[in-house]
């Protein structure tokens, strides 16, 4: 039987009210190999990426946040009990380590855009190729500076972070911060103060999220072949 999988967590008791997931299917707790997974029975071959399904996936992962901090799965994972057992058993150490890493934390997101009133690079005499390189130079420089500044502002509150420098033309930084739940208030306050210091930047702060950005355990190669 096919199962749509939402997240992997430490062992938990099933919630009193099961959440509603993909295509309205009920999300249940499945205990395998010492972990608790949230899953739904799944019948189809394709999963439509609709607002309802996307929000349902997020809602199911969120539904156990009071009990534990799960490792959310990417949208669209369908498997079966046997393959899941095999996956969990062979990645046990990495999963346990990652769960321990995110325990008691949530993810906050910060995205920063440069105030569009700022003049851009002067490239009136340049061809498209030269302009491309000069813009890269400007964007990378800005991104590094803003990234370093943001990190300094929040350093003591960050258990971990994932930062993208200049991910799109106007986005300077897209950062994901792993923050202790008890520190969220301080995090928000600190960020509010920091924003005032940089009027030339536009901020978007979102959260709290389950730790989507701190769930991937692509460390298998390192541990498997003992390369350090």
């Amino acid at each position: 039987m096919k199962l749509y999988v939402y997240c992997v967590a430490e062992k938990i008791d099933p919630p009193a009210e099961p959440a509603s997931g993909i295509s309205g299917a009920r999300a249940d707790v499945l205990d395998l190999e010492g972990f608790s997974l949230l899953v739904s029975e799944f019948a189809g071959d394709t999963i439509p990426v609709t607002r309802d399904n996307v929000m349902a996936h997020a809602a199911v992962v969120r539904s156990i946040l009071n009990e534990t901090t799960p490792l959310p799965l990417r949208f669209g994972t369908v498997s079966d009990e046997q393959r899941l057992r095999s996956y969990l058993a062979s990645h046990r150490q990495a999963l346990e380590a990652q769960l321990a890493h995110v325990r008691g934390c949530v993810e906050m997101g910060v995205k920063i855009i440069w105030n569009t009133d700022q003049p851009d690079v002067d490239s009136s005499s340049d061809g498209p190729g030269a302009r491309f390189l000069k813009e890269k130079q400007l964007r990378t420089g800005r991104a590094r500076e803003v990234g370093a500044w943001l990190h300094e502002q929040l350093r003591p509150l960050l258990k971990d972070e994932q930062v993208s420098l200049a991910p799109t033309e106007k986005l300077i930084i897209a950062a994901a911060h792993l923050v202790d739940r008890d520190a969220i208030g301080k995090y928000r306050d600190q960020l509010a103060e920091a924003r005032k210091l940089r009027q030339e930047l536009h901020f978007l702060v979102s959260g709290p999220w389950p730790p989507y950005s701190f769930s991937n355990i692509d460390l298998e190669f390192k541990t498997r072949f003992g390369v350090s």
Binding site: C7, A58, P72, R83, S206, Y212, N216, E220, R224
Partner: protein
């Protein structure tokens, strides 16, 4: 595409942020299985050595400048 990007408002900033999380991030378990097949393990090792060389060569070139 299932989304009509022309007509977005505040409510959809929430959708976009959610999409950014659930579609771009999160644990991926499907691709893993392929990569741990024996042949591809070897390719991984080869790739590792190759990339070490590229990084070292890059460092050397930088120091010469």
């Amino acid at each position: 595409m299932s989304f009509d990007i022309e007509q977005l408002d505040q409510a959809d900033l929430s959708l976009l942020e959610t999409l950014d999380h659930v579609l771009n991030r999160g644990l991926v378990i499907a691709g893993e299985i392929t990569i741990s097949v024996a042949d591809i393990d070897l390719v991984f090792l080869g790739l590792n050595v190759l990339l070490s060389s590229v990084e070292t060569a890059h460092e050397v070139l930088r120091k010469r400048e």
